[in-house]
């Protein structure tokens, strides 16, 4: 057995275990309301913070890998040998312990909580069944490889666990110190607001900032820690995954730079929130503006860092960064950029919208403009649609009515009121763009990205050469799941994704998925307009 192969099977099985555990965790998270426990008095509330374990484990594993280095890798090669068979009895034990864990979880997260000895017994069984399901999953996938390895490198594992726990503890302890950072954030936001005039007051003890009559409290969670962690995680993952493209040590500078920019962007976000609340609309300020701008700034920063590490000659390795643009082609951009433009403009205009997004036409114009730039890539794809595509579209329409997104009467009433308040021509122009977007632009843009790119990219790196009829469960499942996650009712979204994939498989044409998608959206638009069911739109 080649040593590289022995490393590979261990890594593959371990990844599979992590994926299975994450999926099980997601199902349990959906079934149980962890937050309900946090407001309880007494030790029972601590059970809601079980997710802390994720941080400890992640830090412990990272520290062990760091300390172990090459030696750890050699030991894995020696210990693992040939792939071990997957043991059914361990899978059965895992399933049984999972069922027991699910059962105890449903009681642990139920209010009112148990008391006395029952509480201790329940908490104990909950923790034990949780540990047992983890142990059984590892034994099923890797037999005793990990345990033999742990015995061999006991010192490294212990040091890694201790170091990881220490870092985790320090990180948790410093969470309280983020209040101090909130003060710095307030100061930064106040200095950014100063040039705009008006009375800006900061109260550090209350962590409040006020401009004119509009004020907000900067909670520790809004001090920038989320953004800094996200950018740190993103950059560490990115630099590891694309390390061969990076020029070390120059590229490493991007890690602290990214974290520093995340902090500065957060200050700017708080300043923008206060300015919008004070000068534009208090309702917009108290609504989701800060959150949407936060996501936007994270996206902009992450992509800017990725671009810098990949294209700027000082950060990127080789001649790729400095080469002339016409030496390269980018089919990924041709298939994904229209979708990214649509989503990006949507996030931007939505941040400033209360209810009706008046700037919706910008999304349509932006996406069409990008498709025009990449039009050469689409020449072979433009084909007439078929009857089966229309039929599939009608089925998706039915599914959407069967599993509709939850209607919010308040939001629907606000939408109608705002649409009705528009002057006649503006109302018709807006509705015209909304129909054009929904029926013609969105189906093309989404099908290019999902069935055109993702579904084929999961089959081969050189995705433009992959036939639209080539099938794999993985590409079908992942593409449909991602497609579903972006829709208000994820279940209907996944089913629609599956249906559009089937439309592509039948004749091997992307155009059929576009026609099916356009049919479904056209029927939904008519239904929404006729019955004022705006949540369907």
């Amino acid at each position: 057995m080649q040593s590289a192969d022995s490393l590979r099977w261990v890594a593959t099985r371990l990844s599979a275990v992590v994926a299975v555990l994450l999926a099980e965790y997601a199902v349990l998270a959906v079934a149980n309301d962890g937050l309900s426990l946090t407001r309880l008095p007494g030790w029972w509330a601590n059970l809601a913070y079980a997710t802390e374990v994720v941080g400890w484990v992640a830090a412990g594993v990272s520290a062990t890998l760091l300390l172990g280095g090459e030696e750890l890798r050699d030991q894995v090669r020696e210990v693992s040998g040939a792939p071990t068979p997957i043991r059914l009895r361990w899978i059965a034990l895992h399933a049984l312990s999972l069922a027991a864990f699910a059962l105890t979880s449903s009681r642990v997260f139920q209010l009112p909580p148990p008391r006395g000895a029952t509480a201790v017994l329940l908490a104990g069984s909950w923790l034990l069944t949780g540990l047992l399901l983890l142990y059984a999953a590892l034994r099923a996938a890797l037999s005793d490889v990990l345990f033999r390895l742990a015995r061999r490198v006991r010192g490294t594992v212990l040091a890694g666990a201790a170091f990881g726990a220490l870092v985790s503890l320090v990180a948790n302890k410093t969470l309280a110190a983020w209040e101090w950072l909130s003060g710095v954030t307030l100061g930064l936001a106040a200095s950014l607001l100063a040039p705009f005039g008006g009375a800006v007051r900061v109260s550090v003890p209350e962590l409040a900032i006020v401009m004119d009559d509009f004020g907000v409290i900067v909670a520790p969670g809004c001090s920038g820690i989320d953004g800094m962690t996200l950018v740190g995680l993103f950059m560490a993952g990115y630099l590891y995954r694309f390390r061969k493209r990076c020029r070390f040590p120059h590229t490493l500078l991007l890690l602290p730079l990214g974290v520093a920019f995340a902090f500065l962007f957060n200050g700017a976000r708080i300043a923008a929130l206060v300015w919008v609340g004070a000068r534009v609309s208090p309702a917009l300020g108290y609504g989701g503006f800060h959150s949407k701008v936060g996501w936007l700034s994270f996206c902009g920063l992450a992509l800017g860092l990725a671009y810098a590490s990949n294209r700027l000659p000082w950060f990127a390795r080789g001649d790729a960064a400095g080469a002339a643009a016409d030496e390269y082609e980018n089919p990924t951009a041709a298939f994904c950029m229209p979708m990214l433009t649509l989503v990006g403009i949507g996030m931007l205009t939505n941040a400033f919208a209360e209810g009706l997004d008046l700037l919706y036409p910008l999304r349509v114009v932006g996406a069409v403009a990008v498709m025009f730039v990449y039009r050469d890539y689409y020449r072979g794809l433009a084909r007439p649609g078929s009857l089966h595509a229309v039929f599939i579209g009608a089925i998706v329409f039915g599914l959407w009515l069967l599993f509709p997104p939850q209607a919010d009467p308040g939001a629907n009433a606000m939408f109608e009121r705002q649409l009705g308040a528009l002057p006649g021509w503006q109302r018709w122009v807006w509705l015209g763009f909304r129909l054009l977007g929904s029926i013609a632009v969105v189906p093309v843009v989404e099908e290019l990205a999902f069935r055109g790119y993702l579904q084929r990219r999961l089959l081969a790196e050189d995705f433009p050469e992959v036939s639209f009829q080539r099938f794999s469960w993985l590409s079908l499942g992942v593409t449909s799941a991602v497609f579903g996650a972006l829709h208000p009712n994820w279940f209907a979204g996944v089913l629609a994704g599956l249906a559009f994939a089937v439309a592509t498989y039948v004749r091997g044409r992307l155009a059929d998925a576009v026609f099916a998608h356009a049919t479904a959206n056209a029927l939904l638009s008519m239904w929404a307009l006729w019955f004022q069911r705006w949540e369907l739109w």
Partner: protein, 83 residues
């Protein structure tokens, strides 16, 4: 130089890994709210409204798509075959 690079990336990863608990808790709550929207609106749960996961997490899928898609585009450039 490679070992310095590994150490710095490792330190970043380690520090970030130790801080994933809060986003994990947020994501867990977000998952719950997707499937139980009626229990997560302000009227039925003022405590959750104060925390507002429905607002905080609403942009997450779009942001994830934008970042992952953007990275795919940035690294997706390739040399023309005829050159």
């Amino acid at each position: 130089m490679q070992s310095i690079a590994r150490a710095v990336i490792g330190a970043g990863l380690l520090l970030s890994a130790s801080m994933v608990s809060a986003p994990t808790a947020e994501a867990t709550d977000w998952l719950y709210c997707i499937f139980h929207p009626s229990k997560c609106i302000c009227k039925s749960d003022p405590y959750r409204c104060r925390k507002a996961p429905e607002i905080n997490a609403a942009g997450a899928p779009a942001a994830a798509l934008l970042v992952l898609g953007g990275v795919a585009v940035v690294v997706g450039r390739r040399r023309r075959k005829n050159q």
